[in-house]
Symmetry: C2
Subunit: 309 residues, 2 copies
Amino acid sequence: MIVTVTPNPALDLTYHVDAWRAGASLRVEAPVCRAGGKGLNVARVLAQTGLLATAVTTVGGAAGAVLRRDLEESGLPHRLVPVHGATRTSVAVVDLAGGETTIMNERGSWLSHAERRALFDAATGSLSGAACLVGSGSLPPGVPAAFYADLVRSAHDAGVPAVIDAVGDGLLAAAEAGADLVKPNRAELEESTGCPDPAAGARRLISAGARIVLVSLGADGMMAVTRERGLVARFVRVLDGNPTGAGDAAVAAAASCLARGEDDPGVILRRATAWSAAAVPVPYAGELCADYRDFEHLVSLREGTRECP
Amino acid sequence: MIVTVTPNPALDLTYHVDAWRAGASLRVEAPVCRAGGKGLNVARVLAQTGLLATAVTTVGGAAGAVLRRDLEESGLPHRLVPVHGATRTSVAVVDLAGGETTIMNERGSWLSHAERRALFDAATGSLSGAACLVGSGSLPPGVPAAFYADLVRSAHDAGVPAVIDAVGDGLLAAAEAGADLVKPNRAELEESTGCPDPAAGARRLISAGARIVLVSLGADGMMAVTRERGLVARFVRVLDGNPTGAGDAAVAAAASCLARGEDDPGVILRRATAWSAAAVPVPYAGELCADYRDFEHLVSLREGTRECP
């Protein structure tokens, strides 16, 4: 079983507009409404691929009630910590004319000390028998940067590998705590390490203590760096679709490898690149296209950390 | 007491973005969340001006629960009809850089025959002792165009004047039923009557049976037409702000006049123009600026239906 921890979940509302026109009153259909947040997306992808995953997160307010119902209806195993502040809402606007998706992300409601503690305890309480722990996404106000690092230490105390998808101080602290894998994208890595070059940034996180750094490079593919090796992968086809959730699919792929004791960065990188690509044709985060298994054959991989031309 | 009927309410979420960038992931604060819908805005304005108003509307689903709580907390008298379909959500995006507000309006959930009947009965059951009835806003799927016309007839049977703010067949049917006042804006009037000229469109509604037609002309002011007279008014100052809800303020002004037996179109037009202007400096619909009473002195009025130059 894989445990995913989402400290800052969101109710995801996706609106489709024929054409966004600033200042207009646009007629839209009711939005697609889904429990969201990075760790929840990771758990959904794992469930789709046949792996048992439990989503640990918080719920509060009206949006939290909808999130809880969506999780119950989806059948995804979950452990919810009730909190006072309202679960945030993320609004995505898909412009059918322009083809872009614009997202409005709230920071999330404050967690009290007791609520943060309850979330931490719910996560560590799920570690018994777990094969991997995933901590994913932003930290809401009131949750210190050490939150993920503390989770990594608790996972290791329980003999469970830990994957962290975070940014800034939360990412650095997780690396220092010896996270088995961290997965920033290029911008997050630069923001966190100050290195514009992803290979140099990844090496900083390795020096800090991370075992594997997976860097998603958008259309340029993905990079994996360990103390000994560096590899770059590309998906060989160009895909149309919605890249939202592609990073979560990569995290799910990495967790699925570590959960079965597979820590070869080449194997992890191939699967992460494949699943990430398989998330693009699907309009919503947390889901791969049906033929995702075939995608691992469509990944080109090479040693070295120079990006592909 | 004035009764406002809102067949298609909405939970209004207002987001503020520093600058809308298509395709970007934008960090936003939690939205301002309010019970919305035109008739609710009318009732709020009436309450602000010291008049007793009861809002009759439907509630369903999670957004409906939030709308109910907001109404309860606001102290606005209300009569809520529970329905199966979820209350729609209206998302407004205020672009602080561009200055525009873009709104995404859902059509609303289907009302069953029994739910439509229950709403109608809640409205007519509030007519005893009422001084005016207001029917305002779009009709959700499942509610026929005759809904407002039937309300007008029931109001007249009870000796209560009726104001209808609607569009298309709903507006035409209300005029034919002898509505005491209808308030389309220029685009709605053209859509409903096929007349690009607002004076000609207003006369069509008068011929159909409406007693007073109030046409909001945006920055060009407002027009009032009866069988005998036509008048045009302008607010003499240019106002910065958010015109959302200005039309609802005009409806509230008209209802406040009819409720005290005042049906002089000049008096109504002056107040409607003033309150409409007083809604612009306020960022949210359903509220006038504090000095709204002074605004009636800032309205220039003249006979005739030629628009001001």
